[in-house]
Symmetry: C2
Amino acid sequence: MRLNFLSAVALAAAIAVSSVAAAADGLPSWKDGKTKQTIVQFVKQVTTNGGPKYVRPAERIAVFDNDGTLWAEQPMYFQAAFVLDRVKALAPKYPEWKDQEPFKSVLTGDMGGVNAAGMKGLLELVGATHGGMTSDEFDQIARNWLAMARHPRFNRPYTDLVYQPMIELLAFLRANGFKTYIVSGGGVEFIRAFSEKVYGVPPEQVVGSSIKTKYEVRDGRPVIARLPEIDFIDDMAGKPVGIQKFIGRRPLMAFGNSDGDFEMLEWTTSGPGPRFGLIVHHDDAVREWAYDRESHAGRLKRGLDEGPQRGWVIASMKSDWRRVFPFEK
Amino acid sequence: MRLNFLSAVALAAAIAVSSVAAAADGLPSWKDGKTKQTIVQFVKQVTTNGGPKYVRPAERIAVFDNDGTLWAEQPMYFQAAFVLDRVKALAPKYPEWKDQEPFKSVLTGDMGGVNAAGMKGLLELVGATHGGMTSDEFDQIARNWLAMARHPRFNRPYTDLVYQPMIELLAFLRANGFKTYIVSGGGVEFIRAFSEKVYGVPPEQVVGSSIKTKYEVRDGRPVIARLPEIDFIDDMAGKPVGIQKFIGRRPLMAFGNSDGDFEMLEWTTSGPGPRFGLIVHHDDAVREWAYDRESHAGRLKRGLDEGPQRGWVIASMKSDWRRVFPFEK
């Protein structure tokens, strides 16, 4: 039985490998040009059995940042919008918030005041909105918000603001034997609430920031209780740490968009053998947003300065993408 | 291309599902009887498409404890033997250790003294032997030890002391669309050094205890530096926490052998829908060891008392296993 199964898997793999050329058709939202060609060429090299750059399927790990790489991150990180909405929803239960920062600023819509509360204020907001419930309850809260909330510019669910070319790329890599991971500074359980449906990335392939949790049996019912305390920040130098902790091997390919992804791309592309790094450059103010060196969210400076000399591909949203969002004609 | 690939995978899955009956032949080291029948029957139910207990492949997560469940844990945890050997190997570089506990007791072979140093002593030993190097260096140290060290009773590499019936079970589950995970109180990087080769479980499917790490660029070379400080203990109530953190969904099946696995089995089997829990009972003093309620390592008391009424299967090494180790005739 096992042999039958493995033979069929081998057949599947053979079909995948033999049709890499045709697979370029799996990337219709990427314009024909150097960027697309570089991606397809790399995948062809590492999947060509017997070739000098062949990599066995088990080692084919591709990691993707989420905010600004797989979906948009303007006018603010989508998870920040979730936090603000949750504070408003919870406020009736916490009347003291109307006199207490950073909650007061959130409730009065004073974003300057929210920012002024700094990291301490941010942690308080995360603790109040992401802690104090079970893992199952949080999952449901996040799913409900994702179903109801609308993006202010496009008036659509936030999950509509994923990048069509990246969705195609995820599928293209999986079809070529890659395991695709999300490695995000965002909260792991927030991303897990939509990653399987939207990206085809299952919960066990999401690495992200987390809060502490505790296993408890409440009235005979076991739960994972979420505590209002940060456990791990999966950003900057935390990304390679998260990759080693959760995945345990160095990726073959890494995709990011900001300097928060610099160390992830550095760690990935400094490994032995063929490696690939790509930065999505937000340079399309018409279809999406244009920002890089001076942006508060998704700042990209070091990556632009050092990326090319490190061999990283800079993908232009404006020039390399035929379509940005799935809902575009 | 993607459709071709997916079709072939579907074909492979169909072959797997349609031959579950034949797959019982994939478990030759399990004696025919109630235990084996219960396992095979459960797998058949959750993989029968259209059946009342069908579970889609993405949800088929099976978690396995390591020490005492997949390989032996006597006369001491194998990773403890690694720690003792490492202290001896490192001692020439740390002459002060000969007057300093718990190192002094390790170097003089005084196991009573090592135990007397308690948790504080243990953490010092772990810090000294598992910290202070890069992740790549630790991986090499662990691999070298696994290649050279010999088990005192069987005079074989420790990786020979895996349980043949469990190796078959891992393969059987994978052939039926399960993702097999290790969820161990042992160190995650120690297990990753052999899990792929020995169990067919890739590094990204190992959850374990960990120490803190830090990403650094040393003379232009990025490394993950291992710090002499505990990050996470994946044991007892830590196991469901680790499962949620790393896997992000509740397993369908859980396998353990000691009360350190109780919460993992409780969390798994209290989920909705079909769930399965099994405890390996060490009751074979001839081929392996016999121990349970009073053992210092792998104590099993609550699991024996409460397991059966919770519907968990108690597998007897003596009665249910035709063969224990792969090297037996």
